[in-house]
């Protein structure tokens, strides 16, 4: 059998909506529609099982970024208390003392609620600025809590990690926006 030429291969559709050809008499699956945010944040928590064994904190806190991006994109999709279970799950894998994720993620949800009440108009730049403040606070407090647990003064090693995190946030929001379109694919026949 000859090697298939590139045009013969089935190509991925350009839009996720094209994955489902038929749209009439179909509705989004409730399981995917409400479960995908939770699953995506938990999968991002598992990113520590990556091929990279780091001897310094260099990888951005992906799970917290995905969590924040979902909260910014769809403010009422994750309930206000979502920081409790998702933060606890992240604590199991992040290496932080257990409880730091629960505290910081819950606090982030409460802060986002206040921000939503204050900022009447949202834009890309405003979202990025708010997320930058939240992520900076998260990283500094995480390092502080880790330093407290190791009985060692706050190590100022999070500088590079912080810059990568701030720069990467728009990309994470794009990925989450794509997931949001996948979330509402009409998979269920009515």
């Amino acid at each position: 059998m000859p090697f298939p030429r590139l045009p013969d291969l089935p190509s991925l559709p350009r839009r996720p909506e094209d994955l489902v050809p038929q749209r009439i008499n179909r509705a989004p699956s409730p399981l995917v529609a409400s479960g995908l945010p939770w699953v995506s944040v938990m999968l991002a928590s598992l990113a520590v099982y990556s091929p990279v064994i780091a001897s310094a904190p260099v990888v951005p806190p992906l799970a917290f970024m995905v969590f924040l991006a979902w909260r910014m994109l769809r403010p009422s999709l994750l309930p206000l208390w979502a920081g409790l279970p998702l933060g606890a799950f992240d604590d199991l894998y992040s290496g932080q003392p257990f409880g730091s994720g629960i505290v910081l993620w819950s606090a982030a949800m409460l802060v986002m609620d206040t921000v939503d009440n204050r900022l009447l108009w949202r834009s890309f730049v405003a979202d990025w600025a708010v997320a930058s403040l939240l992520m900076t606070g998260y990283l500094v407090l995480s390092a502080g809590i880790a330093g407290l647990a190791a009985a060692y003064p706050l190590p100022l090693v999070i500088g590079p990690q912080l810059l990568v995190t701030l720069a990467l946030y728009p990309l994470v929001t794009r990925a989450v926006a794509l997931l949001d379109r996948v979330r509402l694919l009409p998979l269920r026949t009515v």
Partner: protein, 306 residues
């Protein structure tokens, strides 16, 4: 873009109560998290069983990642070797010739060492490694430095055992589950390793700096005898780490010590070996006496003045 108006419940009592309950649970979650945090800072081992179960579940993903790491490194190494084949060949031939001479000297020294130890009546404990495993994950986003090992209590891994790679010391096991274990890397600030300079036995200890480097502190104060390129290996003091495992290479000399790089980068280690505790009875006796003595007495404010 205006914010979405879906948080206004209108006159529905049910929706109002729902939002109120959400706030209550969120604040309660924050407070519960704070309580758990205090518990886990006071007693770091409190949630080890939950963490162990969690890493058991994620173990297949980690092992796949470790395979990818080995494969990816060998691809890059192969491409690099293609470009440097000639030069590398010449350098390696020179190195092999030198190493062969060194090996003969080493054999002679080892024999002499054995004879002298027999004369003195020193018996070295059996150092049979417990198991070989892969590092399948690390806390890459946190300021603490842990790695997850793909072997656990079913392979005989216990907390306290040292972990090394071919090139040098990696860390020690602090929590062990049935099939995975958590390793405190040498770069974590909590990990303090007694070492000595390989050249002349100068005693020191190293402490992680959490940024991939380690601080080398000397026991004897005075003028700093460190030089760049000095190699430090474990000394065996404390009874935990067996002597002679390379730990650090000095890269920067400070006025009261130095900063070093790891002898063995955990990212490059394909397989690591778990070793038994070097002097288990000594470590147990030390722990027992520390427990019996209680916490160290605090310096009283009135008595310490001079």
């Amino acid at each position: 873009m205006a914010r979405s108006p879906d948080r206004r419940p209108g006159f529905s009592r049910r929706a109002q109560y729902g939002i109120f309950t959400g706030y209550v649970i969120a604040v309660a979650g924050f407070l519960a998290g704070a309580g758990l945090l205090i518990v886990s800072i006071v007693n770091p081992q409190a949630f080890s069983s939950v963490r162990g179960a969690a890493s058991e579940i994620a173990r297949p993903a980690g092992e796949a990642g470790a395979e990818t790491r080995a494969a990816g490194q060998s691809v890059i190494a192969a491409i690099g070797a293609y470009f440097q084949a000639g030069r590398q060949n010449a350098a390696l031939s020179r190195e092999v010739a030198a190493a062969r001479a060194n090996a003969l000297t080493m054999q002679a020294l080892e024999g002499e060492n054995r004879r002298l130890k027999a004369l003195l009546g020193i018996v070295d404990p059996q150092m049979k490694p417990i198991t070989a495993a892969r590092l399948i994950g690390s806390t890459a986003a946190s300021a603490r430095r842990f790695a997850v090992l793909s072997a656990g209590t079913s392979q005989g891994v216990r907390p306290g055992q040292p972990v090394r790679s071919a090139a040098g010391l990696i860390g020690r096991v602090i929590e062990a589950g049935p099939g995975t274990a958590r390793v405190l890397l040498v770069t974590d600030p909590e990990n303090v390793v007694p070492v000595r300079r390989v050249r002349d036995g100068l005693p020191a200890f190293v402490e992680g700096k959490s940024d991939g480097r380690i601080a080398i502190r000397l026991l004897n104060m005075g003028n700093n005898p460190l030089k760049r390129g000095d190699v430090f290996a474990t000394s065996g003091s404390g009874g935990l780490y067996p002597p002679g495992i390379p730990v650090a290479v000095v890269t920067e000399v400070l006025h009261d010590g130095g900063v070093g790089h790891l002898a063995s980068d955990p990212a490059e280690a394909d397989f690591v070996v778990v070793l038994p505790v070097f002097q288990a009875p000594a470590v147990e006796a030390l722990g027992a006496s520390q427990q019996a003595a209680g916490p160290a007495p605090e310096a009283s404010e009135g008595g310490g003045g001079n």
